[in-house]
């Protein structure tokens, strides 16, 4: 809600961090044990200095082709590099780009031929390779391969999963006789990406036609086509285990049944793994869940119902099948049960039902977690409970696997970047040499009452953070300063929290989810998580910005002016836009534009009547155009104190006639003691009505304001009269506004009606 409220104010800042654009990476992947050159296309890339890898394992050995729209990155991929996706951003002297990806595979990479748009010109492939190609608009890419009868061939295309374009690939395979032997379109493992398995029935040359199903290709329509005899399961049974555990898992959904031994990662979470069968790894990963639960597979239930936390694994092989698992739970201990299927790339759309010992359904859920199910329930008694799962459309299949997790409701604790109005894929922070910049961090699970301070580690050399206490609401700026001589470098920073109640520092988890691709209506197609904050040092900024911390509070329904000044570097005379990067709920601020020649100005902050009463750190952001890139710096953090009004007032509903005098009697109440004088102003008074307010002393509670209406004063009912109370204290001015006043100005009665009492009964208001 807060982000939404402030989104408008800061929307213009959104562009500031993505002026350097990385839109396309070709090829989209390479083979391990090779050195590959990735052509990165985008905008403002000519001063690229490095690559910020979000995952370790690859090494940049050279940058070349420094042009505005491209840079070539030469990468050495070690023989033992982990398979999978390597997200990265480009670091230029002026900023950082959004994240794109390269994929490291085990199969040799083949470049797409220049002309292979017809069956006759199909590009011949050897089996067990990965083609890096592109589907342009209205394009059909043809490939050919030889196969022998009985061979099991798998073909998988990775298009939309590359996060470059909303490609919806379909592939058709034609046999030696020209007949289509299979068509693949959607797949559970690749969503819109096709995945096919083919048992060859006759020797000969087979052809593949690959295209967007609606011919909507693009110059961004890169794909990787894996073809070969590798295993292609859609999932594992069981699809999870304990950290570091070695499990024996069945491969599900492949042409040939297989079992693999798999050592699970050490870290808790959902992981992508690459099972290997007969020395051949799957081309794209399957997913497993690693946590501390006990795992039970279908058909191997323990004698006693296991207690939570536990997990059950199974497959709904037959249409209409319902699987049932029993667990024990204690009365009153709230339990969360999750049926994971789509999250693990299973085609199943699970429906969960929880039943008691007598078979009475207690609760059920279909789509609590996307298409997966989640229920939370409180067991009414100690005992065993049953959880059943079936497919929503009552389908069944050898690959329709699931994992049911039973356990306590998980708490969430950590940080994420949350600049209002900025897209979540515009992540990371650029700090100019000798300057300062900030971003906004949303914390969760960190209780401000414990006096938690948030600091950051693993920052680039010469950069340090300003530790700040996390206020109520959990939103705190991250302010980084770089020394003048800090090298232009980058790092992945991590949060660190210190509680006043705890003597030692402890690390917090940074988890920032961002979409890899947006499709129609800017909806995220798929999201990935980043567990660190990319920070990059950039060349010096052309200015610095500073504001004086207000010494007085901003009160609800009040206004405050905030003097701001900038210091321009030599020769910089451009326009600077300044705004608060984030303001507490209920507080809004103006945007200040300092044109050429100006270095000072005032921001106005307004608090509405429901503004959050708190003391919160605030930073100002100043942005300017540096050529075609917009750069930003921030002020030092300062605290904004939002308080209840110091004085309250009650405005009357009064009436008067043209040419008459009247009194507008206001009741005042001092809510707290303070030094200083109070002045009042009436706002939105009708034209032709003058007022005179008496002096206000410390004990004034009644404030009769004398009104004088001119003979032509504006007749009518004026309902928006408000009172401005200006408190001038030794530390500054606190401005209150109190609404609710009303003044009715009437025309005088005709002389013949005056004094006979007719007016009292025939008052029809203004005429």
């Amino acid at each position: 809600m807060r982000a939404a409220l402030l989104g408008g104010a800061l929307a213009a800042a959104a562009g500031a961090l993505c002026a350097q654009q990385l839109r396309l990476v070709l090829p989209a992947g390479a083979t391990r044990g090779t050195t590959a050159t990735f052509r990165c296309y985008g905008a403002e890339l000519e001063d690229t200095v490095s690559v910020i890898w979000m995952r370790e394992g690859l090494e940049v050995v050279g940058l070349s082709e420094h042009k505005k729209d491209r840079v070539h990155v030469e990468v050495r991929i070690p023989e033992d590099a982990e398979l999978g996706v390597y997200p990265f951003a480009l670091h230029t002297k002026r900023g950082i780009t959004r994240v794109k990806f390269v994929r490291v595979g085990a199969l040799p990479s083949v470049a797409e031929a220049k002309t292979h748009g017809t069956k006759e010109t199909a590009q011949k492939l050897e089996l067990d390779c990965t083609v890096d190609g592109r589907v342009l608009a209205e394009d059909v890419d043809w490939y050919a391969f030889d196969a022998q009868k009985g061979q099991a061939i798998r073909i998988e295309a990775v298009g939309v999963r590359l996060g470059l374009y909303d490609l919806d690939l379909q592939l058709e395979v034609f046999g030696p006789d020209g007949e289509m032997v299979l068509r693949a379109d959607e797949s559970s493992i690749g969503r819109a990406d096709p995945c096919a398995a083919l048992r060859v029935e006759q020797d000969g040359t087979y052809h593949i036609a690959l295209r967007d199903v609606a011919y909507r290709g693009s110059s961004y329509g890169a794909y990787r086509l894996h073809i070969g005899t590798f295993p292609r399961p859609t999932g594992l049974l069981p699809s999870g285990g304990r950290p570091g555990e070695t499990i024996e898992a069945q491969l599900l959904g492949d042409l040939e049944p297989a079992t693999v031994k798999l050592t699970l990662p050490d870290r808790v979470g959902v992981h992508e793994v690459f099972p290997v069968v007969d020395g051949k790894a799957v081309p794209t990963p399957v997913r497993v869940v690693v946590d501390e639960r006990d795992n039970f597979c279908e058909g191997a239930a323990p004698e006693q119902p296991p207690a939570a936390p536990c997990a059950f694994h199974g497959v709904l092989a037959e249409a209409g099948e319902t699987d049932s698992h029993t667990f024990s739970a204690k009365k009153g201990a709230r339990v969360e049960i999750r049926a994971l299927a789509r999250a693990l790339l299973s085609p199943l759309d699970p429906v969960l039902v929880v039943l008691d010992e007598k078979g009475k359904a207690l609760t059920s859920n279909d789509d609590g977690l996307g298409l997966d199910g989640r229920v939370r329930f409180t067991p009414p008694a100690d005992g065993s409970y049953r959880v059943t799962v079936h497919d929503h459309l009552r389908r069944g299949g050898a690959d329709m696997f699931y994992r049911i997790e039973v356990g306590a409701i998980p708490g969430i604790s950590g940080t994420a970047e949350a600049v209002p109005g900025r897209r979540s894929e515009d992540l990371g922070l650029c700090v100019p040499q000798g300057g300062r910049n900030a971003t906004i961090i949303q914390t969760s699970g960190i209780d401000a009452r414990h006096g938690v301070t948030l600091d950051w580690t693993s920052l680039p050399q010469g950069v340090h953070a300003r530790p700040l206490k996390v206020p109520n609401g959990g939103i705190v700026p991250l302010v980084l300063e770089a020394q003048r001589d800090a090298p232009i470098s980058s790092a992945l920073a991590s949060p660190e929290v210190t509680a006043e109640t705890e003597p030692k520092e402890r690390s917090a988890q940074h988890l920032h989810r961002y979409p890899t691709l947006r499709v129609r209506n800017n909806v995220a197609y798929e999201t990935r998580a980043l567990r660190a904050m990319p920070v990059a040092v950039t060349e010096p900024a052309a200015l610095s910005v500073a504001a004086t911390e207000p010494k007085v509070p901003l009160v609800r329904s009040g206004t405050m002016t905030l003097p701001v000044r900038i210091e321009r570097a030599d020769k910089f005379d451009g326009t600077v836009t300044i705004r608060a990067m984030w303001l507490p709920s209920g507080v809004s601020g103006t945007t200040l534009t300092l044109p050429k020649g100006k270095s000072e100005g005032v921001l106005t902050l307004n608090a509405n009547s429901g503004a959050t009463v708190a003391r919160a750190p605030v930073v100002l952001s100043a942005s300017y155009a540096a050529g075609s890139v917009r750069r930003a710096v921030s002020s030092e953090p300062f605290y904004l104190d939002v308080q209840e009004p110091w004085i309250t007032a009650k405005l009357p509903r009064a009436k008067m006639e043209q040419g008459q005098k009247a009194t507008f009697a206001i009741e005042l109440e001092r809510k707290r003691e303070f030094e200083g004088k109070v002045e009042v102003e009436l706002g939105r008074m009708p034209k032709g009505v003058a007022y005179e307010a008496p002096a206000i002393a410390a004990d004034t509670t009644e404030l009769p304001i004398a009104l004088t209406a001119a003979a032509d004063a504006h007749v009518g009912r004026h309902r928006s009269i408000y009172l401005r109370l200006i408190l001038t204290t030794p530390h500054g001015v606190i401005s209150h506004a109190v609404g609710g006043g009303e003044l009715r100005v009437d025309r005088p009665l005709p002389p013949e009606l005056r004094g006979d009492g007719a007016a009292s009964n025939t008052d029809k208001g203004p005429r």
């Binding site: 394009d139 199903v213 609606a214 459309l393 129609r520």
Partner: protein, 801 residues
């Protein structure tokens, strides 16, 4: 070529032709007189040996098999005493009988609100759509359209407007009487006379307390307009009709004067005061509406009463037999058979939407085998273009377009249709699969059917119109004005679609359709939950967990369904003749009867008997002499099928044909070069030519969206538009190829004529063209382009003939 004639010549004549044997018929054959006030008119028709009918009611002699039961008075039977008697009618040596049953001859029953008052309001036009039957009423007084909700009408009359519309103490002063008689200013004018029959009915009802008789009176169950068929010779012939209503208690009532009557073709037969008057030669259907029912009588008007003997007709199958029966009635001789070239071009365009290539024309013309026409049809049915054409045709009425479907949905749904048709999937199965589909619209192509609309009412309307040819829309708000469909029918049918569940899939663009097994739709007439009811009134028993759509699909696609097979067959028929036996094909209603009812029924039966194999029906149509006839030399209406009616090529056919003749294919937006206009799945293909020539946007399921009427823009585009110019001038064209190969002018001309017209040029055409080419000198390209351009603008090219 005339095989099979003998089989069908032996067929018995249809019952309607029995009248042609000559004789006397009295209508109705049975009359009940149910009170002392009752009367029933009788129409007596004499027919001669030619089948021409003449009204002889006024001159017929009437006697009774027994006395004291009924009397004949001014063309009506009136009661005398209870009993049963036969009225014996004689004229010109022929006789007929009417069975009369009199009950309650002494009774004078009170006026019924439902059975007497509401019909008067309908007859007087009070509750018509233009008057108080409008949705918002008129001048503060609203009645239900044609009295579909009498209870609400009674409220409007007796309660609304502070009850001032009725005055039971002084009935004559009631606004209900003074307004329509014009005694009080009435914007709707004078509707009936004071003291007239309608006035008396209303007055008596008001005087009796203006009460509703609710369920106490029998309800209307049937309607008949007689004679069902009139054959009038020459203009100015008058022949009365009698409209008989049947009620739930078995009583019959003469409602001729209370019925609303209209003619489908007033230039041939007008109807006024229940009497048909003939005019120009032709055929008309006279519709009579009473209560919620509508029925029609057929009127054939011949030019004169001269004797006519039908010429020998080429009959190859049952289609010819049934078409020619009508021709005989209309005294029309069918057109001569078309020549081979015409047939080949016709059958290519109709079956696969393409012109025959010159080689195919040459081969066909040179072929002397008897069965070559059947063989070419057989070959075309196997061509990949055949499913393309039919997939496009169905995609139009299924509304496969990217506004409601995703682009992907458009592609995969169309492909599914195409492959189903290619593989010969029976049409009933195709429809069943669509109607019962569940799952992701990206994984199960036919699920996209449910993306074409989401509102259950719209889905019901669309399904009825697309698969049954029935337009139900009117009955959403009131009883259908020209059909029997009532609001109860509408909501009962819509209830089949009330439990469709939808949810988002894994990706933002994907949606999943499933059966919710819960959810209802309420009848807006009475706010009651509508029970799933088949059209026609049968209410199936559906268990709670059974998908209602499955039950619907079984009924809808059953061979016994009275509309489904006929509708599919009629759509196929329309493609080959340019008009349906019911026309438009998606407007089946009593008031729009088929031009050939028996043929309509038989085509449906044939389709069902063949396992809904459309190809089988196409074979039979293409084999018929009716399809193989040339254009009719006279002015025979297209609905008679006396000859082939020329029709402009459709937008896609035309553009593809121009591309074929020039050998310059059209590039459509979003698809690779090489796809024909028929194959383009997106109706918004960004092609101006297709838009101009009427390619539908697929905004509705109505076939009327395909615009076939000519426009000035079309003509201008053909004369100097970019489409033809670009193709004619292209350096990659057929012309360029022929010129480059230095073909002789004769050969080039032959090739162009064969490609465009599927025939060789006539000698006069050859002489004119070659002269102009010769005049062009050394660079004849421009002259050839002019020739080609002129050919594209010729009717012979633009029309299917």
């Amino acid at each position: 070529m005339k095989t099979g004639i003998t089989l069908w010549c032996a067929l018995a004549l249809t019952p309607s032709l029995a009248v042609a044997q000559g004789g006397l018929t009295a209508y109705p054959a049975t009359v009940t007189l149910d009170s002392g006030l009752d009367a029933h008119r009788v129409v007596v028709v004499a027919s001669d040996a030619q089948g021409i009918t003449v009204d002889v009611t006024s001159t017929a002699e009437v006697s009774f098999s027994a006395s004291g039961v009924a009397e004949w008075r001014e063309g009506r039977l009136v009661p005398v005493g209870d009993g049963e008697v036969f009225a014996r009618i004689r004229h010109g040596g022929h006789g007929a009988e009417v069975k009369v049953t009199v009950r309650g001859a002494e009774d004078e029953p009170p006026v019924s609100f439902r059975n007497d008052v509401v019909p008067v309001l309908t007859r007087a036009g009070c509750n018509g759509g233009a008057c108080h039957g409008a949705a918002s009423g008129k001048n503060g007084f609203g009645l239900t359209l044609f009295g579909y909700d009498p209870a609400r009408d009674l409220r409007a009359l007796s309660r609304d407007y502070r009850g001032r519309r009725l005055d039971c103490a002084a009935p004559e002063e009631s606004l209900m009487l003074t307004k329509p008689t014009g005694e009080v200013k009435h914007k709707g004018g004078k509707r009936f006379e004071r003291e007239g029959e309608m006035w008396q009915t209303l007055r008596a009802w008001i005087a009796a307390g203006a009460t509703d008789d609710g369920d106490a009176v029998p309800t209307l169950v049937g309607l008949k307009v007689e004679p069902e068929e009139l054959v009038l010779a020459g203009p100015g012939q008058r022949s009365p009709l009698v409209v008989t209503a049947t009620y739930s208690d078995g009583s019959l009532r003469d409602v001729t004067e209370l019925s609303l009557m209209s003619s489908s073709n007033p230039t041939s037969a007008a109807v006024e005061g229940g009497v048909v008057e003939s005019a120009a030669r032709g055929e008309a259907f006279v519709m009579a509406r009473f209560g919620y029912l509508t029925e029609v009588a057929q009127v054939i008007v011949l030019p004169n009463a001269d004797a006519w003997s039908p010429p020998e007709m080429d009959r190859r199958n049952e289609i010819d037999e049934l078409v020619q029966q009508k021709l005989v009635k209309l005294r029309l001789a069918p057109a001569a058979p078309c020549d081979d070239a015409t047939y080949l071009r016709r059958v290519y365009i109709d079956v696969i939407g393409q012109l025959p290539p010159p080689d195919a024309v040459r081969a066909f013309l040179a072929d002397e085998a008897e069965d070559k026409r059947a063989r070419v049809v057989e070959d075309l049915l196997k061509r990949p273009e055949f499913p393309d054409v039919w997939a496009m045709t169905w995609a139009e009425v299924l509304r496969i377009e990217p506004q409601n479907l995703e682009q992907k949905g458009v592609h995969i749904f169309t492909r599914w249709l195409r492959e189903a048709l290619r593989d010969g999937a029976p049409m009933d199965e195709v429809v069943r699969r669509m109607l019962t589909s569940n799952g992701s619209a990206f994984q199960v192509p036919e699920v996209n059917y449910w993306a074409t609309a989401t509102n259950p009412k719209v889905l019901a309307e669309n399904a009825a119109q697309t698969f049954l040819g029935i337009r139900l829309q009117c009955a959403q708000c009131h009883n259908h004005p020209f059909e029997r469909w009532r609001m109860d029918d509408y909501y009962g049918f819509a209830a089949f679609f009330a439990q469709i569940g939808r949810k988002n899939g894994d990706t933002p663009r994907e949606s999943i359709v499933y059966d919710r097994s819960s959810g209802d739709i309420r009848n807006e007439r009475n706010n009651a939950v509508a029970k799933p009811t088949f059209l026609g009134g049968d209410v199936p028993e559906i268990a709670g967990d059974v998908d209602r759509r499955k039950v619907l699909a079984e009924w809808l696609t059953s061979a016994k369904n009275p509309w489904f097979a006929k509708n599919i067959a009629n759509r196929v028929w329309a493609r080959f003749f340019g008009r349906g036996l019911v026309h438009p094909v998606d407007d089946v209603r009593v008031s729009n009867p088929p031009s050939h009812p028996v043929l309509h029924r038989r085509l449906g039966e044939k389709l069902a008997a063949s396992g809904f194999d459309v190809r089988e029906l196409i074979r039979e149509i293409c084999a018929s002499a009716t399809y193989q006839s040339a254009q009719h030399p006279g002015e025979a209406a297209s609905a008679t099928y006396a000859g082939m009616t020329p029709r402009r090529l459709s937008a896609e056919q035309l553009l593809d044909a121009i591309g074929q003749v020039t050998e310059v294919p059209t590039k459509f937006r979003g698809v690779p070069l090489g796809q024909s206009a028929v194959q383009v799945v997106d109706p918004d293909g960004g092609n101006r030519f297709l838009d101009l020539f009427g390619r539908p946007d697929r905004d509705s399921v109505c076939t009327c969206e395909r615009r076939e009427e000519p426009t000035l823009n079309q003509i201008l585009h053909l004369i100097n538009g970019g489409t033809i110019e670009a193709k004619v001038r292209s350096g990659e064209s057929r012309l360029a190829r022929l010129l480059k190969a230095e073909s002789s002018p004769d050969a080039i001309l032959d090739e162009l004529f064969l490609a465009a017209y599927a025939r060789a040029p006539r000698s006069d055409e050859r002489e004119r063209v070659l002269r102009s080419i010769a005049e062009a000198g050394d660079d004849p390209r421009g002259a050839w382009e002019d020739v080609l351009w002129a050919m594209f603008n010729s009717k012979e090219f633009l029309f299917q003939h």
